[in-house]
Amino acid sequence: MQRKAVALISGGLDSMLAVKAILEQGIHVEGLNFFTGFCVEGHTQAIRNQNKSKPKRNNALWVAEQLGIKLHIIDVVQEYKNIVLNPKHGYGANMNPCLDCKIFMVQKADAWRKANDFDFIITGEVIGQRPKSQRKQTMPVISQESGAQDRLLRPLSAQLLPPTLPEREGWVMRDKLFDFSGRSRKPQMSLAEKFNIDEYAQPAGGCCFLTDKNYTEKLKDLWSNGGKRDYELDDIMLLKVGRHLRPSDSYKLIISRDEGESNYLRGYRKQFISIEPKSHPGPLSLIDGEASAQDIHLAASIVARYSQGRDATDVTLAVHSKDGAQFDLTVQPMTANNIPQEWLL
C-alpha cells in the first residue's frame, strides 16, 4: 500500500528538500501552502513594476511543479488573525509569532491529512535554523500542541529527533533521512546538488512580512490609530503598497511609488478619498481615515511633492470622493524639507 504524506511548502529550499527526500522513498506527497495575508510571495512582485525581467512566479507553486506534486493553497486569513493578535508563545524580533504560526500550520495540515486520508505530515524544519521556532526544544511543542504528535516528520533533522510513526512503521527508512542542525546552509546546498536541484528561491529573512521591521511599525501605527488591535485583509495588503505618511492622528496618506502600485490603489477608489495629479504625471494616493478640507489640501501638497511637478510653482490635482464626485485642487508642492520625518511610517 502506497503511503501518503502532506507537506508544508513555503517555496524555499528546505521544504523542497524534505519533500524530495520523502518522494525518493516511494511515498505519495502533496503540498499545502497557507495564505495568511502576510506572505511575501507573489503579490509584492506583482504590484510593483521593478524586476520586470524576473518572472513574477509564486515560489510554492514553482517548487511543486519542480517536484511533480500537487499544491493546495489554503486561505487562512481569518483564522490567522488570532495567531497574530494573541500568540500564546509570544513574538520574535518583530511581530512574527513564529512558534504559534508553525503550530497553527501543522494543526491545519493535520486536519487536511485526516480529511483526505493521508498518513503523515512533513515539514522542512531544521533544528537550530531559526532562533525562536526551530530549536530542539520547540520541535516536540509543535508536534504536541498541533495534535499531529508522532505523525509529524522532519526529514532534514529526523535522525536527531525521536523516531516518528512513519519511521517506526517502516513507511520511511530513518537511515535515509538526515541529521541537519544549526544555521549553516551547507548541508542543504550539498543535498540540493545531490538531488540535481540547481535553482531555488533564497528566503530573505523570513517567509512573511511580520519579520520585517518597517512593516511591523506600520502595523503598530494601524492599531494605535485605528482604535483597536484588529485588521481586515485590505488593511494588511495596503501596508505592503506605497509610501505611508501620517500627517495627523485622523488620517494617513498612501502614495504609490510606481505605475503598478497606482493601478492597484485605483481598485480602492470606492473605499477611500483618492488624489491624483492632473497638471503633471504623478502618483495616485489614497487618504485612509477622516480628513477635513484643510487636511485634503495638505495631503494634495504632499502628493504634489511626489509628482513630476515638485519644482513647479503649483500643481493641479483631481480629488475623488468615495461616491465618485470629483473636484480639482491647485496647490503649491511641499518641499522635501517641509515634510517632517515623523510623518513617514
Binding site: 501552502n33 495564505f35 510571495e41 507573489g42 503579490h43 512582485q45 506583482a46 504590484i47 518572472p55 513574477k56 512566479r57 509564486n58 507553486l61 514553482w62 511543486a64 511543479e65 506534486i69 500537487k70 499544491l71 493546495h72 493553497i73 489554503i74 486561505d75 495588503m237 503598478g260 493601478n263 492597484y264 481598485g267
Partner: protein
Amino acid sequence: MKHTIDARNLLCPMPVIRLQTQIGDYQAGDTIEIISTDPGTQYDIPAWCRVHGHKVLDIQQKENEIRIFVEVGQ
C-alpha cells in the same frame, strides 16, 4: 458548461484560491474564464493548472484586465 470567475482587484494568490475552490464543483471538460487584474495570475494560474492537470486554453490581456481560459481536467 462555461463558467466565469471574477477575480478582479484580488492579489495573488487569491485568484488561484478562488479557482481552486470553484473548480471542485465543475465537470471535466467544462471551461472557465477567469478575469483578473493582478499580472501575477498570468504565471500562477497556469502553474497551478499544470500541477493539477487542468489545461490553459488561452490568455488574453486587454488594458489592465487579464482573461485566462481553462479547461477542467479529470
